[in-house]
Amino acid sequence: MMRTTGLLLILCLAVAIVTPVSAQESQPASRPATQPASQPTSGPTTTAATTTSTATTTSSQAAEEEEPDRYLAVIGGRVHTMTGPVLDGATVLTKNGVIEAIGTDVQLPPECEIVDASGRFVYPGLVAANSTGVFAGSDPRDRTNMFSLPMTVALAGGITTARTGATAAKLTYGTTEDMLIERDLFITLRYRRSSPLQRAELRADFERVRDYLRDMKKYEQEKERDEDAEEPDAEWLKGKYEQYKKLIEGSAVAYADASSLQDLVDYAKLSQQFGFKLIVNGAVEGWIVADELGRANIGAIVSPRVNTGFGASQWEPDERYNRPNGWTIENAARLHNHGVVVAVIPGQTSVTFWGLAGRDLLHLAMEAAFAVRGGLSNEAALRAITIDAARLMGIDDRVGSLEVGKDADIVVADGDLLHYMTQVHYTIVNGRVAYDKSEETLFAHIRPDGRWEVPEFDDQWPRRLEWPEED
């Protein structure tokens, strides 16, 4: 009896072993099914593995004619996932431009492009919440020069996604494939003290739409009781009214340029009153009313070093005011502390060539470091140029962090991105190496081997004010 059960057990085991192997043989390109994933992403990885294997079996005949799967793996780096823990020596495997697996013991498929990141830092591609001169035209796929220097330089700065106007697009070097993410990110509002008529009109429009929505709700309730209930007139609900309706219903996001205290407070009140989501660009004096902005659930695109331009700036603190005013480097930190989702951008949103360590798009990570100088934590500063910037634009389902199923936009740097000495070595967009420092003429001469001692980060907020002890 015992013997038979033992034999049965062995048989079962044999079947269990044989089946995955045969499945594997039939589709050599797919990832091995028996594959332990890392701890933090074990759930998603295993599910991804099973789904892909079933997908390949169903479409294996069709796939023969199509292009083979495109694999790229970044191995051995210190992976900052942004939304998860930091993984040392982990592998990020991407398939056809999408992250397939993240973990310390990911098994690589036989034909896989490998980017060696051992001893380097791996981040999600940076998201520039504002940019000019990288993309061109109303549709970036039509007129963008995908070989242009601004694009290469932005990639050298680690940027993989940028916004221009209401369009978010990828920096796909040399191709327009999968370039566009979204063309209608938000609806731009103007509600400034400087133009009171426009203000009044906007307010009246909002009230009209709000009243309509209220009447509509009332009508829907009445309809159940009274069949003759009159439906509110919706003939006028076109153009701008339709957009405002979307805002109030919460299916769209508003965007406004606002930097002065008064404007910010006004916008905050307006968004609270009508209950729409708002992103403000600038928010120079936001730190003064950070609590109000936080309560109004406003997102802010800020620059820690406000572009003061040439000569005297209007944002220089003015002592004649009997209140706090002007810019401060602590803006991002204070806003963040009050729950405002903050995206950091440099003062100059284009790629400029009139000086190093500048304030242009190349130095997005450095700008985030200035936010750290103003009191933001390292993690929050990195989030402000990745996942939080993506969240502001509503594209965090595709970019901004390293997660299974998200776009394969990866930055490999030779140190902490917030350190001023750090150079980006590889920028990967949609699973393709879009920037390779050693190939481009821009920075290839700086630390050509790319290996250097990663500086220990101990001088962080709260800053040690006393001198280090000498011994």
């Binding site: 039509d142 995908m146 070989f147």
Partner: protein
């Protein structure tokens, strides 16, 4: 009898017999034919026997117009640029025999009638005339946008005897005149720079010229496709209608057959019957012919291209300013399959290097400028035309700017490419034969080969030597332009 041969030192004993036979044969054949033709000349004969003398005599026997005198150019060197790889590309101490404005024969020693006009260029070099495939020299600036496939430059040409003087000075015998404007401004007109007026046009209307961006190209092709769909839809509707009519006619026939036996009641039934009978009688005899809806004439060439109709010279020449432009256009052309060639504006700083691999995949012919560029944002110099030629593309060249000056500098610029590594033969062909092929006129011009038009240029030395001057230009077998010697 005149003999001439470059191989006089040949031991005559060895070939004496064959030579004699050949000479006799030739005289006989030539004499007979010339009697018939009534020509005034007496043929000279081949001086040596191992060339197929008989054949050449038979060839010379029937010129198109026997009264047309032959023209012979004797040159220090004849650059033939022949399409045939086995043929001589360059013939030292060669000669070109021209009859009727066309090349009759080219070689080292040939026979020609006694009365032939001999042009002595024994110090000079003869080569096919240069081609400026995309130009507006001598035409006024004129701009329009949109798609104008029904227009051709020939409509704006007015007689101007001095228009081509500067081009003739530079040795150009053929120009491809393009319309001015953005988008598809119209079709080109390929003509000679001189010669008899009735023979000036080589191909017209020729290629479609495109300058614009991706959306312009896509929109134009989309509209052309819609025109095709419109016709197809109308045809389908027409066929449906025909089928319906046939069905009705059959029904009526059946009804008529059914009603035939009951002819008794005529009062009400007759009127009812009338309609179907008239239909059934008229329809089968005169079926309505299909009248396709009119296609917008401005879009007609694009429609032809999409339907792959066989029209000589019909293709799109796409002005491409950068690598990104190429990527954009290639994307549109992957969607719409139309005959096209890329005109690359490779300037002093050009990034076409980035798309070289993609471009040269199918080894398409390409039209470029003779410019040694710099890699963008660096001091490194690259020879883009050479790179494209090496990658397997048939390289054609054109002056680097549409100005008289650039046309005069043309040979010098090409020489610069050769100095930077472009093979000499490729460069010479890129100036003559290959642009002719690109414009689909290589059956007429582009090389010195039998049957082609005698559009030649006589130079004081090698065409790629910077000290070389153009001495004279021949079009249709006549010297039409002489460049005066500088004092």
């Amino acid at each position: 009898m005149i003999r001439f041969s470059s191989r006089r030192n040949r031991p005559i004993e060895r070939t004496r017999l064959t030579l004699l036979c050949a000479a006799l044969l030739m005289i006989a054949a030539g004499g007979v034919v010339f009697d018939v033709g009534g020509a005034r000349g007496v043929m000279s004969s081949a001086a040596y026997a191992d060339e197929p003398a008989n054949e050449s005599v038979a060839r010379t026997a029937e010129p198109d117009d026997p009264y047309e005198p032959f023209v012979v150019i004797r040159a220090k060197k004849v650059i033939t640029n022949a399409a045939d790889e086995d043929a001589d590309q360059e013939i030292d101490n060669g000669m070109v025999v021209i009859a009727n404005g066309k090349i009759h024969s080219v070689g080292r020693s040939l026979e020609y009638p006694l009365n032939a006009k001999v042009i002595d260029a024994t110090d000079d070099v003869v080569m096919p005339g240069l081609i400026s495939p995309v130009t507006r020299i001598g035409l006024p600036r004129y701009s329009r946008g949109g798609v104008h496939g029904d227009l051709c430059v020939v409509d704006e040409l007015y007689p101007d005897p001095e228009r081509f003087e500067p081009l003739l000075d530079a040795g150009f015998t053929t120009v491809g005149y393009v319309p001015d404007g953005d988008g598809f401004p119209g079709r080109a007109h390929i003509m000679r720079t001189a010669g008899p007026e009735d023979q000036q046009t080589l191909l017209s209307p020729a290629y479609l010229y495109f300058t614009g961006d991706k959306s312009d190209l896509r929109e134009a092709l989309k509209r052309a496709k819609q025109e095709i769909e419109k016709v197809e839809k109308a045809r389908a509707e027409h066929e449906k209608k025909l089928a319906e009519l046939a069905k009705k006619a059959e029904q009526a026939k059946q009804e008529a057959e059914e009603k035939k036996p009951e002819e008794g009641d005529k009062d009400g039934a007759e009127k009812k019957d009338e309609k179907p009978t008239t239909q059934s009688t008229t329809q089968p005899t005169s079926q309505p012919a299909f009248e396709p809806p009119k296609i917008d004439p401005a879009l007609q060439p694009l429609v032809d291209l999409l339907q792959e109709k066989d029209a000589p010279g019909l293709k799109i020449l796409i002005q491409t300013e950068s690598a990104a432009d190429y990527v954009h256009f290639a994307e549109v052309l992957a969607e719409y399959d139309v005959a096209h060639r890329f005109v690359l504006d490779n300037d002093w700083q050009s990034d076409f290097e980035y798309v070289l691999e993609r471009f040269a995949e199918d080894e398409p012919p390409v039209l470029m400028q003779p410019v040694v560029s710099r890699v963008p944002y660096s001091a490194e110099r690259i020879n883009l035309p050479r790179m494209f030629a090496d990658a397997g593309c048939e390289l054609s060249l054109r002056p680097w700017r549409d100005s008289t000056r650039a046309h005069h500098q043309y040979r010098g610029r090409v020489a610069e490419l050769v100095r930077a590594g472009l093979p000499r033969e490729t460069a010479l062909k890129a100036m003559t034969l290959l642009p002719a092929r690109l414009l689909d006129i290589d059956d007429q011009i582009g090389s010195i080969a039998e049957g082609k038009r005698a559009d030649l240029v006589i130079l004081s030395g090698d065409p790629l030597d910077p000290t070389t001057r153009v001495r004279s230009v021949m079009i249709a077998g006549e010297i039409v332009h002489r460049v005066e010697e500088p004092e």
